[in-house]
Amino acid sequence: MKRRVEPVYYLFLVPTLVLFTAFVVGPALVGIFYSFTDYIGVGTWSFIGLSNYLALFDDPAILQSYTFTLGFAAVTVIIAQVIALGLAVGLSSRIRFLASLRSVFVLPMVLSGIVVAYVFSFLFSNTLPAAATAIGFAPLEQSILGNPDLAWLSIVIVSAWQTIPGAMLVYIGGLTAIPADLYEVSALDGAGPWRQFRSITVPLISGFIVINTILGVKGYLGAYDVIVGLTGGGPGTSTRSVAVTIFGGFTGGDYAYQMTNATIFFVLTVLISIVQLIATRGRMVRL
C-alpha cells in the first residue's frame, strides 16, 4: 500500500528553502557569475571568460594558501579526533564528578573563535615565553607566533582546543548507544579494555567518526577567525589560509578574482567531502 504524504509537511520545508535560497544559494550563484567578469564591486564590468581562473593557477600566493589550509586541516582533524575520542571514553566511564567534568570540557565550545584566539595570542606571546625563560627552556623563550616555521602549530592547537568539545559530545552520544552487555559478554570471554576498545567501541561508533571527520575537515578548511586573532596570516605569509586570502580581495578591490578563488575552493571542499564519504562507506558496523 502506498502511503500518501500529508501535503502540509511540504509546507514546513518552505521557510528553510526560501531562506537558504535567498541567503546562501542566491549569493553563491551571483558570486560564481562574477568570477567570469572583472567586477570590482562597483561600477561597470565586462566578461573576461576564464582569465581569472587561468591567473589563479599561476599565482604562487594562492597555491601556498591551499597547501597551508589542506595541511592544517589534515593535521588538526587527526589530533582533534584522537583527543576527543579519548576524552569521550574517559567521560563515559564511571568516575566521580562526571557531570561537572563534562561541563568543564565543553566550555571551549561556547566561546567565540575570535575571543579564544585573542586569549591564546596573549598566552603565546607573553605567558609562555615568560614561563620558558623562568625555567630556562630556550626553544620557547621566543614566542612561536613570531616564528614562521612554528606559527602554524599555534593555529592547530587553538583550533583543536576549540573544536574538540563538539566532537567529544558526538562521541559520548555514540558511546551511550552501545549496549553494556556487549562489554560484559566480551569480558567473560577474556577481552581486556584495549581489545574491547578496538573490537567493540571503535567499530560501533565508526559512523560518528565519519561524521566528525567530515564536519571537522569542512570547518578547518574555512579557518578564518582563529588565524586573524592569532597571526593575521603571518609571520610573512606562512599562515594565510584560503579564507583569509579570499577576504583580503574584498578590501583590495580584487572582488572578481577572489570570487574565482572562492568558487574553486567550494568545488574542492565538496570533492573532499565526497571522497571522505566514499572512502568510509561500508565500513560502518550496525548491530
Binding site: 572583472d38 570590482i40 564591486g41 562597483v42 561600477g43 561597470t44 582569465s51 581569472n52 591567473a55 599561476d58 599565482d59 604562487p60 600566493a61 603565546f124 606571546s125 615565553p129 621566543q142 614566542s143 607566533l145 613570531g146 616564528n147 614562521p148 593575521g232 596570516g233 603571518g234 609571520p235 610573512g236 605569509t237 606562512s238 594565510r240 583580503g248 580581495g249 574584498f250 578590501t251 583590495g252 578591490g253 580584487d254 578574482y257
Partner: protein, 428 residues
C-alpha cells in the same frame, strides 16, 4: 537637468522615509507652530571612530544654521558596502586613499571644483588627493585634514643620554648605536600589527629617497613589463631604501614580531623605548598612558643631505559627494559649512592634524612642532605602502623580511605580484 531628475526619482529609501515623517509632522503641527518647511534629510558618513562625538556637534550646529535640513550621522571604516548597494551617503568624509581612489577613477564621485571652498585648498595638498587616481575634468575629493607622520621620540631619554635629534642617516645610526649600547631600545616596533611596519619602516625608508607618486605612476604605465631591467621597479628603485630599512630593523626591540600596535603605544608611553615610527594617531594613545610624557617628532633622515628630509603625510579625511546623492545642492551646503575657516581650522587643531587651506594656521601642539616646517614647505610625500593595493600582503612580506634580514626577496616578490596584478588590471 539630470541631477534634478535624480532628485525626484532616485530618492534614497531612508531620506524618503524621513521626508514622509517630516511631512506628517508638519501636517500635524504645521498649523499650530510656524515650523520651517522641511528640506529633507542628509546622510553623512565619516570614518574616524575617535571623532564621532566631534562631528556630531558640528552637524547639530549645521542643522541650527540651516533650518529644515537634518543630518543623519553614520560611521563606518569600510567604504565599499554603501557603493555596492548603490546607496552611498550624501556626503562622505573618508581617508583619501587607494580604496577611495577606485570610486574616483570610475566616476562615482561628483565634481566639486565649482564650490567656493575648492579654491581655498592649498594646491600642493589638493594634488595629493589626485596621486592615487583622478577622473578627467573633476575635482572629486576636497582634502579636509592632513596628517603628518615622522619619528616620535622620547625627549627625556634623548636628554639623559645627551643625544641630538639626528639630521642625517649617519647621525641616526650613531644615535641608535649609542642607545643600544646604553641598554635602551632605540626603536620600538610592533611587527604583529602589519600596517604599522609598512606605515613606519617601509614608508619612511622610501619616502625621502624616492618620489613615490612619480614612481607608482611609472609602475602603472609599465604594468606587466616591471622587472629588474625595467625603467623603475621595486628591486631597482627601492634597493637603497630597503638597505636602510634592514639597518633600522636591527635596532628594533627583540620581541617586535609578537608586539601589537596597542603593545607599542603602552611600551612607548611607559618610556620603554627612545623612538617610535608612528603618526599623530598614536600620540593620543600614548597620552592615555602618560599624559605628561615629554615627546617630540622629527622626519626620519635616510640620506646624508639634511635637505632631503621629508614628512610622510596622508589626507586623513577628504570630503566628497557621490554622484548618486539624492540632494547634491544640500550636500554641497554641508561641505561648504565644514570647509568654513573656523570649522576646518578648529577640527584640525583639536585633532593633531593640519588644515588643508591656504590660510591654515600652524598646528600649535608642541609634540608635532618638529614636523611643522615640512608641512609649511610642502616637503612631504604619501607613503609608498599606500600606493600598493591591499591584495598584495606588503605587511606580511615585511614581517618575513625583518625576521630573516632578506629584503631582496621581498622586493622581487613585490615586482612579481605587481606584474600579476597588472595582467588583470588590478593595480589601483
Amino acid at each position: 537637468m539630470s541631477s534634478d531628475v535624480r532628485h525626484t526619482t532616485m530618492l534614497g529609501r531612508r531620506s524618503f522615509l524621513a521626508r514622509a515623517a517630516g511631512v506628517a509632522l508638519v501636517g500635524a503641527f504645521g498649523a499650530a507652530c510656524s515650523a520651517p518647511e522641511s528640506r529633507g534629510t542628509l546622510r553623512f558618513y565619516e570614518q574616524k571612530q575617535e571623532v564621532i562625538a566631534y562631528f556630531d556637534k558640528l552637524l547639530r550646529a549645521f542643522e541650527a544654521e540651516h533650518p529644515g535640513l537634518s543630518v543623519v550621522h553614520d560611521s563606518t571604516s569600510s567604504i565599499a558596502p554603501q557603493f555596492v548597494r548603490n546607496d552611498p551617503a550624501d556626503v562622505g568624509c573618508f581617508n583619501a586613499n587607494l580604496e577611495l581612489a577606485r570610486y574616483v577613477e570610475r566616476g562615482q564621485l561628483s565634481d566639486l571644483s565649482h564650490l567656493p571652498s575648492a579654491a581655498t585648498i592649498r594646491p600642493d595638498i589638493g594634488k595629493l588627493a589626485e596621486q592615487y587616481a583622478t577622473f578627467p575634468g573633476r575635482t572629486s575629493v576636497l582634502p579636509y585634514s592632513l596628517a603628518a607622520a615622522g619619528v616620535i621620540y622620547n625627549r627625556k631619554i634623548f636628554a639623559d643620554h645627551r643625544l641630538p635629534v639626528p639630521t642625517t642617516w649617519t647621525e641616526f645610526v650613531d644615535v641608535c648605536t649609542e642607545l643600544k649600547r646604553a641598554g635602551v631600545v632605540p626603536v620600538y616596533a610592533t611587527g604583529r600589527t602589519t600596517w604599522t611596519i609598512w606605515q613606519g619602516l617601509f614608508d619612511y625608508s622610501v619616502g625621502s629617497l624616492v618620489d613615490t607618486a612619480e614612481f607608482f605612476r611609472t609602475m602603472k604605465e609599465l604594468g606587466t613589463d616591471v622587472g629588474p631591467d625595467s625603467e623603475v621597479s621595486f628591486q631597482k628603485t627601492f634597493a637603497v631604501a630597503m638597505e636602510r630599512a634592514k639597518t633600522i630593523s636591527t635596532f628594533f626591540n627583540a620581541d617586535q614580531a609578537v608586539r601589537s600596535y596597542e603593545d607599542g603605544n603602552l611600551a612607548f608611553g611607559k618610556g620603554q623605548a627612545a623612538m617610535y615610527l608612528q603618526g599623530p594617531w598614536a600620540i593620543g594613545q600614548i597620552a592615555l598612558v602618560d599624559p605628561k610624557l615629554d615627546i617630540g617628532t622629527f622626519a626620519l633622515p635616510v640620506s646624508e643631505n639634511p635637505n632631503d628630509r621629508k614628512a610622510r603625510v596622508n589626507v586623513d579625511l577628504g570630503l566628497y559627494i557621490p554622484q548618486r546623492s539624492a540632494d547634491v545642492p544640500a550636500a554641497a551646503e554641508l561641505v561648504e559649512f565644514l570647509m568654513r575657516p573656523d570649522v576646518i581650522n578648529a577640527y584640525n587643531q583639536d585633532n593633531l592634524a593640519y588644515a588643508t587651506t591656504k590660510t591654515a594656521p600652524p598646528q600649535r601642539d608642541p609634540r608635532l612642532a618638529g614636523l611643522q616646517t615640512y608641512v609649511d614647505r610642502g616637503a612631504f610625500y604619501q607613503g609608498a605602502g599606500t600606493f600598493i593595493p591591499t591584495s598584495i600582503p606588503l605587511g606580511n612580506y615585511l614581517q618575513a623580511a625583518i625576521g630573516s634580514g632578506d629584503f631582496d626577496t621581498m622586493l622581487r616578490q613585490l615586482d612579481a605580484d605587481w606584474r600579476r596584478l597588472a595582467r588583470r588590471g588590478a593595480t589601483t
